[in-house]
């Protein structure tokens, strides 16, 4: 009889624990992982586009050595950072990663700005397609980052709010770093890469 009561109590405890946000912690944590994987995926997609883009621009504007070099260097810097899923748990590595991707973004927009001066390049179908793919990828990055921000926000709320914060403490769930707020506005809209008008000033 005592055993049976014990079993019932154990069962109730298990269920009550899930009522205290343990399951919420697990599912939001899993969401972050998925969202982060998507962010990495889209950044990788951008990196993969670069050699082709650089080659195409070179064909028409080989004299723009510096800009082309800038893109290649920024790309290799991005490549040197191990973009693992664990990055989300390490605020410093996370910041480095963000910074490298940001540098690549500005190198790319410089390249596209320069392309503005080459009418032949601009009307090249291959370049136009690459440009469309780059625009699309930048937009995918923006969407993936926004979803990641939402996922982290949700998770951090669970970690901090009562009573699930107790559960989080008990099981060692920590707050995760967020994409920094000062560039959140900038993340929201994809960088302008159309050449019809003057591009926005780069910071």
């Amino acid at each position: 009889m005592g055993k049976q009561i014990l079993a019932i109590v154990a069962f109730a405890l298990t269920v009550l624990l899930s009522g205290c946000g343990y399951n919420d912690l697990q599912s939001t944590d899993e969401q972050i992982k998925a969202a982060w994987a998507e962010v990495l995926n889209q950044y990788q997609r951008r990196v993969d586009l670069i050699p082709n883009l650089v080659e195409t621009v070179k064909g028409f504007a080989a004299q723009e050595q510096q800009v082309l070099l800038g893109v290649t260097q920024a790309r290799s810097r991005v490549g040197s950072i191990q973009a693992t899923p664990e990055l989300v748990n390490d605020p410093q590595a996370f910041a480095r990663f963000q910074e490298a991707q940001g540098a690549l973004s500005s190198a790319l927009s410089r390249l596209l700005l320069v392309a503005e001066n080459y009418p032949q390049l601009k009307s090249d179908q291959n370049f136009r397609d690459l440009q469309a793919r780059l625009e699309g990828t930048e937009n995918r990055i923006a969407v993936a980052r926004n979803r990641f921000i939402k996922a982290v926000r949700e998770y951090n709320l669970v970690v901090r709010q009562f009573p699930s914060n107790l559960t989080a403490m008990l099981f060692g769930f920590k707050e995760k770093p967020q994409f920094t707020v000062e560039n959140e506005k900038e993340i929201g809209k994809p960088p302008k890469v159309d050449f019809g008008k003057p591009a926005p000033a780069e910071k």
């Binding site: 009522g19 793919r133 969407v143 009562f162």
Partner: protein
């Protein structure tokens, strides 16, 4: 969808909403007032009255025929402006709400035209990114549609663009359009019925037999708490239903105890296993269904189906589950249009004219 599943905000999650309420203005401070997303009622939504009824109907029919043949959902939305948001931001918000395309196939697409901004965007669902890569989407918008728009021929541009998009998607091998058969709901509810009723009755009866009335009540309290907690922990289910289920389980357990009699001494009102199980199954069906977010009609159908079945069993006849016949009411298919649950990842292209 039922109304029940949409109401999430109750005690347990109130803090979350409070925090969101406090944080939201801070985060959106710079965003200002965003353009509202119109409800999805038709494939072609024109908020600017640019298309005349004939043009709209023709387009609507073309898109409907394509969905019937290929399964892919394409929608057109014309708004005056997306300011202060960029067209890409507005567009992704629209498709996140509309969920065009089939679930897990993600074969939706949206042609968004912001007339006064002189901008358009072809938003492509994840499943169509292979057939319609960004470069193709760019060509459709910039090379096919934009020339029409420049001349002021919006109907012609949209029609030509959609036609081209359809042609491109047609070449893509997609799953056959299904006859919309989704048997999962009755299965889910049956599972809930059986588990809830069985556990409550068996444990109630067992506790009564072993521990007497007080033990039974105590056990039922624990069990009720456990069941309520479990339901509450399901994401998307409001705390109210957890509490509701807890109370019902408590009562069911007590009924189980009462009907179970004390240790098989054979009281007069013992209905036998099937009878007890039947009553509690019907009750369990109702509350399980309610907790899962069913419409009242669905719960009623299940209730009568199970009640009828067990009444039949009890009376010795073989009523083969009357009431099931009308159970598959399914989703709306009369006139309206709704997204199939497709996912978008930001693919596509924007152009201006």
């Amino acid at each position: 969808m039922s109304l029940i599943s949409c109401t999430r905000s109750t005690a347990g999650r109130r803090w979350f909403f409070l925090l969101v309420l406090i944080l939201a203005p801070l985060l959106l401070a710079s965003a200002g007032a965003e353009v509202a997303i119109p409800p999805l009622t038709a494939r072609v939504t024109d908020l600017t009255n640019t298309l005349n009824p004939q043009q709209r109907d023709a387009l609507e029919q073309k898109l409907a025929a394509f969905e019937a043949a290929k399964g892919s959902q394409i929608a057109v939305l014309i708004v005056p402006t997306t300011q202060p948001e960029a067209i890409e931001q507005y567009s992704i918000r629209v498709v996140e709400q509309w969920k065009l395309g089939r679930k897990a196939v993600d074969d939706g697409a949206l042609l968004l035209v912001a007339k006064d901004d002189r901008k358009m965007r072809l938003e492509v669902g994840r499943g169509l990114e292979g057939a319609v890569p960004d470069a193709v989407a760019k060509r459709i918008t910039a090379d096919i549609i934009a020339p029409y728009f420049k001349k002021g021929d919006f109907a012609g541009g949209i029609s030509a663009g959609v036609e081209r998009l359809i042609k491109v998607v047609e070449g893509e091998p997609l799953p056959e359009p299904a006859g919309k058969s989704q048997p999962s709901r009755p299965v889910v509810v049956l599972g809930l019925v059986v588990v809830t009723a069985f556990v409550a009755m068996v444990v109630g009866g067992f506790l009564r037999a072993r521990l007497g009335l007080f033990g039974c009540a105590a056990g039922c309290t624990v069990l009720a708490g456990a069941a309520g907690g479990a339901v509450w922990a399901i994401p998307g289910v409001a705390a109210f239903w957890g509490i509701f289920l807890a109370i019902c389980v408590f009562i069911l357990g007590l009924i189980g105890g009462a009907l179970g009699g004390d240790g098989g001494s054979g009281r007069g009102y013992s209905w036998g296993w099937l009878g007890r199980f039947g009553v509690s199954a019907a009750l369990g069906g109702v509350l399980g269904g309610a907790a899962w977010g069913f419409t009242q009609a669905e719960v009623a159908v299940i209730f009568f189906a199970i009640g009828g079945f067990f009444l039949g069993v009890l009376s010795g006849g073989s009523s083969s589950g009357r009431g099931w016949s009308g159970s598959s009411s399914g989703s709306s298919s009369g006139g309206g249009f709704s997204g199939g649950g497709g996912d978008f990842g930001g693919g596509g292209a924007s152009s201006s004219w």
